[in-house]
């Protein structure tokens, strides 16, 4: 027993790295990517967490198209061309909510104490988590588009238009995630985060041009729908997918993204640094 203890001590002493041999800590980009890698490892170990990005999008697309299609546009066929881009945005945005929920659970664990004690750029811990989520968004988006295609969606913009729309939506999802990040840092429980997120999500997605043309709405609501970031995104995505990409609407989306990150990013970090 004593000899093994001595062996172990010796072994441990022999693997200590002298201070002057240590590398410089990872930079901001490399640290963010490393935290993103952690998110991927988690998907590998807990594949069940992909349930919401696989089954949920199929359900949403099929359900909304067939339930509202006839009522709103008279026929499902005509509605599909218009609705699929909207559903694409809505489903993706709803999935971003889970980012906040996962983070809320994750941050309360001991490992985040260790991350925060490391000499790396602190936002990397959140940026990395959001980057890892991009994989989930890509998966969800691909499924929606495939289901849409099966249901008769034929985007005029072709592959180029769809890919450009996809990239734009991923960027918007990343930007919007910072809103949920703030909420998840502010509230104590996952349930509370869920409640508040839904409270924001419902008007954001329904008071928009996803399902119906805003012209059918009362004028006061039209004003709100027009500035709703979701409407702005849906418009840009519809145009891109229809092959009528408009520089103005894309720029507007980018401005919204910049504002979301510019406001909610620093606010997130403020609360993250003070999280006890």
């Amino acid at each position: 027993m004593t000899t093994t203890a001595q062996d172990q001590s010796q072994k441990i002493r022999s693997v200590l790295v002298p201070a002057e041999q240590r590398p410089a800590p990872a930079g901001a980009v490399s640290a963010s990517l490393t935290y993103g890698w952690r998110a991927l490892l988690k998907i590998k170990h807990i594949p069940e967490q992909l349930f919401d990005v696989t089954v949920f999008p199929i359900m949403m697309t099929v359900m909304f198209t067939y339930i509202f299609g006839g009522a709103i546009a008279g026929s499902v066929d005509g509605y599909v061309q218009w609705l699929i881009p909207g559903i694409f945005v809505q489903t993706m945005i709803m999935i971003t909510m889970y980012t906040g929920l996962t983070l809320n659970r994750d941050i309360s664990k001991g490992v985040f104490d260790r991350f925060r004690s490391l000499p790396t750029w602190r936002p990397a811990q959140l940026v990395g988590a959001l980057l890892g989520d991009q994989i989930r968004y890509v998966l969800a988006g691909t499924i929606i588009l495939i289901v849409g295609f099966v249901m008769g969606f034929r985007p005029e913009g072709g592959l180029t238009g769809v890919v450009m729309a996809f990239v734009l939506l991923l960027l918007f999802s990343f930007s919007l995630s910072w809103v949920w990040t703030v909420i998840s840092l502010l509230v104590r429980t996952e349930q509370a985060a869920m409640g508040i997120s839904m409270f924001i999500m419902m008007p954001l997605t329904f008071a928009s041009n996803i399902f119906v043309d805003p012209e059918t709405m009362p004028s006061w609501l039209q004003g709100a729908v027009e500035v709703n970031p979701v409407s702005v995104v849906v418009t840009a995505i519809r145009e891109l997918m229809a092959g009528m990409g408009d520089f103005g609407s894309v720029t507007l989306v980018l401005v919204y993204c910049a504002v979301l990150i510019g406001v909610f990013g620093p606010v997130s970090m403020y609360f993250y640094n003070r999280k006890s």
Partner: protein, 329 residues
């Protein structure tokens, strides 16, 4: 070795109306092990979190290795490592993935992080568990991996928050050996514990903390001199004769005898352990059958009783509280 490892003055942290840390002054030189002893909710974890730059103090000053926690947190983070009360590991990932993650963040390339991880796992006897998720590790294995994670680059100062809470005695001895090894390698260690025995075994100096304040500070020898070197625990076979035994003990040892809630048990704080033998003889002379007659270290409760006059009653409503539940579970 000119700058102290830790220097604080009037350190305060409040949560709502309660002060978790209520004006702590510490002066800890570099080298060796410094023990912070206190019950659940005394403010140990909160103090460590402030020193490891995880929490901003509400008042006071703190310097870690000569750097201000308010203005130079990043420099401090380059020199310290933290092993939290609950393993600071990602339970969903495997052992090697955890070490690779930390290695990459500390600046190693993927390949170097992996080889560093493999080396550390080998040294800590965890090679067989390298590919297993940490949630399937035993408490002792988790602790060892946790400490290995703190040694990817050797820290100048290492915080160990209750490193042996919730692990079996054999693993505890292993962890103690590891801690001693690290100190011999030149790292300063600040360790918190709820057990006097642990602080006594490891620490060069101890601060006793209660309700956010340092109530005693000194070498283990000085503290024990204040508290009495040991505790004599006696359990009589017949509870009806306890009073009789208490009188004999009190007469032969000339000190106060504590009547425990167990109706057959007595505890005596001893100034001088060598006199225990004469007490045993005195009990035998009176034909008093004794079930237990044991000399031991005073428990944390007894230390507190001696230092403060009150027991460690506050299973606090603060951050430390879940530990008690986990231990009970």
């Amino acid at each position: 070795m000119s700058v102290p490892a830790i220097e604080t003055r009037g350190l305060v942290k409040r949560f709502g109306n309660t002060a978790a840390v209520d004006g702590i002054d510490l002066h800890i030189p570099q080298g060796g092990i410094y023990g912070v002893l206190g019950p659940n909710g005394a403010g140990k974890t909160t103090a460590i979190r402030m020193l490891a730059t995880l929490l901003r103090p509400d008042a006071g000053e703190a310097h870690v290795l000569g750097h201000d926690v308010f203005t130079e947190p990043k420099t401090i983070r380059e020199k310290i490592a933290l092993t939290g009360q609950f393993a600071s590991l990602d339970e969903d990932l495997t052992g090697i993935e955890n070490l690779m993650l930390l290695g990459k963040l500390l600046g190693y390339s993927t390949r170097d992080a992996k080889s560093r991880g493999v080396t550390l796992l080998e040294a800590f006897g965890l090679t067989d568990a390298a590919g297993r998720q940490v949630k399937k590790y035993s408490g002792g294995m988790r602790r060892r991996l946790d400490i290995a994670g703190s040694l990817i680059v050797t820290p100048q100062l290492m915080f160990l928050d209750e490193p042996t809470t919730g692990i079996d005695p054999r693993s505890r001895n292993q962890v103690w050996d590891i801690i001693r090894t690290l100190v011999a390698g030149g790292t300063t260690i600040l360790l918190t514990t709820q057990h006097l025995e642990e602080a006594d075994q490891l620490a060069d100096r101890i601060a006793v903390i209660d309700t956010g304040k340092v109530i005693a500070e000194g070498t283990p020898g000085q503290l024990k001199a204040q508290v009495g070197t040991g505790a004599l625990k006696v359990r009589v076979a017949d509870p009806a004769r306890r009073e009789e035994a208490a009188e004999i003990l009190s007469r032969t040892l000339m000190t106060e005898v504590i009547r425990e809630s167990d109706s057959a048990a007595l505890t005596v704080r001893l100034e001088d352990e060598s006199r225990a033998a004469s007490a045993l003889i005195a009990l035998q002379d009176s034909a008093l059958a004794v079930e237990t007659f044991a000399l031991g270290q005073p428990s944390l409760d007894e230390v507190f009783l001696a230092l403060t006059g009150h027991k460690t009653a506050h299973e606090a409503d603060q951050g430390d509280a879940p530990a008690a539940q986990e231990e009970a579970a």
